[in-house]
Symmetry: C2
Amino acid sequence: MAKVNDNYLKLPGSYLFSTIGKKVKDFSEKNPDKEIIRLGIGDVTQPLAPAVIDALHKAVDEMGNADSFMGYAPDLGYSFLREVISEKDFKARGCDIEADEIFVSDGAKSDCGNIQEIFGLDNRIAVCDPVYPVYVDSNVMAGRTGEYDPQLERFKDVIYMKCTKENGFTPDIPSEVPDLIYLCFPNNPTGAVMKKEQLQEWVDYANKHDSVILYDAAYESYISEADVPHSIYECEGARDCAIEFRSFSKTAGFTGLRLGYTVIPKSLKTGGVDLWPLWARRHGTKYNGAPYIVQRAGEAVYSAEGRKQVEEQIAYYMQNAKIISEGLKDAGFEAYGGVNAPYIWMKTPDNMTSWEFFDYLLEKGNVVGTPGSGFGPSGEHYFRLTAFGSRENTERAIERIKTL
Amino acid sequence: MAKVNDNYLKLPGSYLFSTIGKKVKDFSEKNPDKEIIRLGIGDVTQPLAPAVIDALHKAVDEMGNADSFMGYAPDLGYSFLREVISEKDFKARGCDIEADEIFVSDGAKSDCGNIQEIFGLDNRIAVCDPVYPVYVDSNVMAGRTGEYDPQLERFKDVIYMKCTKENGFTPDIPSEVPDLIYLCFPNNPTGAVMKKEQLQEWVDYANKHDSVILYDAAYESYISEADVPHSIYECEGARDCAIEFRSFSKTAGFTGLRLGYTVIPKSLKTGGVDLWPLWARRHGTKYNGAPYIVQRAGEAVYSAEGRKQVEEQIAYYMQNAKIISEGLKDAGFEAYGGVNAPYIWMKTPDNMTSWEFFDYLLEKGNVVGTPGSGFGPSGEHYFRLTAFGSRENTERAIERIKTL
């Protein structure tokens, strides 16, 4: 008789965005005259850059011609893309990452979710709290987390590292030593960053304890300050302890096109075993490469023209972030993030819970955001707003919040 | 200290296509005047159909415009694609499969590799021998197969079902009852099919023993005979025991575009637990949807024009298959498949091993195929040729084989 993977049954319902959707729908139906502005979900709104569109059209034409048609892609990605990533994202920043250490994929979400597979079930993971849910959920599914405690809103065997106002929303070294350490900076949902010397401490710690850091750098393009590392490989020794995830989703608006990559240095070993061949074997067995046309689109992001265009998009979103952040502060709210990340993490007023403030903002301001408690218990009394809306909607939303 | 997943270390080297590549390279270097014809790898050569190219260009334009830009896709696929799949691939054949039972993905390889995750580690799997390597390898990685026995070329805890000339390359019911049964028909590598009544026996068997059939129907478009089922859901009771995988790779030449889907009926339970929500949760956690433009390309395959164009491509490849199959028989070889599948499975002459025949064919005929032993021990003394070459090359390859 077939048996299901019982670990899946340990997952609590994933109600955050469905509950938001339901509340917004109910409100709209009762208030058809109210126009709702959504600054909740982290999806981009700007269209793809012209250089990307041109590259897509050109690649589509190649696929329609027998002489230039491309079948199965190389498992780990086309050289034209891996080479330019190595040059522009790493070597240009002084990071020693070669093209063949880059694994092209359909996105950082898939890679962040799948990476745990190459590690044994007896690893103890550490995550920030609040946190992007994929890190924990993918480990629950694999059976690495123990049972869920609904009272604590936590899994028994996971090390949660609180990120609060007191520590600048960056984790302190935990008292128990984790085997796998998930870090995401610039952070979703708080918008916080780690300075280079802070991240260096984590790298040193991981090397000392033979832990592996799983570093999600999906938002690195939004960094505006000088002493904030874009890659963990800017830190000394990171090639011996870190895997890094990158995304084209927020960098170049590829949320609907799907492209990302993972870096596994060839020098990275765990218990004497090289990790590079394990991930290569996983790619070769359970994946068939990102579409040729999408890899060409990715290449176009690194052209002079493409780079300029996506930088303009990022500047547009970061101007939104500034409008939100300054507007909130002007209105007397505590607000964090928004300087090196497209997320603003605000404290709810009057000690309201995250969901109370959600309801209040929806009803009084007709603005939708994301309750911080949805990202973990330490997110309670916080609220996430995103900079991915249009300028007009962002400005109007802030005007409404100011007059609450 | 971090620990790797030791199960990965049980995998024997994946040397089949790399060894072929090396041998071909060596031969070319020593014989620069010889022109080599490749009928080895199962990749298509015809360009994408005009209707698909038009749909891609149109969707790319939408992505370049703020009003029509598409961000994150729905996790399980766009309705426009799921609806047309349900209608054309299932309801038109009398199969009761609804749009919301279809999970759109980046290909059947990913889905075939990932599906085992929703099942517990204590399931016993059964596979055909010879077989597409992904089914076994993905289970090795998860820890479901025990150790590899290099003498037997088999994993200790896997039930291998021999597919030989004697049983028409279709498996007999095994003596031990498996929990998960991988079946692929039309078959890669043998090109064999199961008639409907044969497949019905497997469905009845699975329902009787509460086993789940994982049915890979990637090659269903190549079926030409009337009593061969295109979907396992043509069999009575399959909704209660079967998951089906489909691919656009061979149907419409999407090997480089990446699109497929998996069907999990809502009525499918294992030990009282619904499987549909588990796979939905996996999609939502570790996947972010197939690209919008690729889903639009998939939709175009079902338009009247698109259908006609891809049918012409399939007819072209199947004419190649006929040329290979008849040519081999004319030349005195035993050959199977090629009627409902793009693969021809030939017996090597004079009791040569698969690799001996590979070398012989390369050296004497300058033609490359795939040694049958690469797909499992029961593939020894067989050899796979594919119909995916150009007509001209296919004809020339057969002329060369005839004059060996």
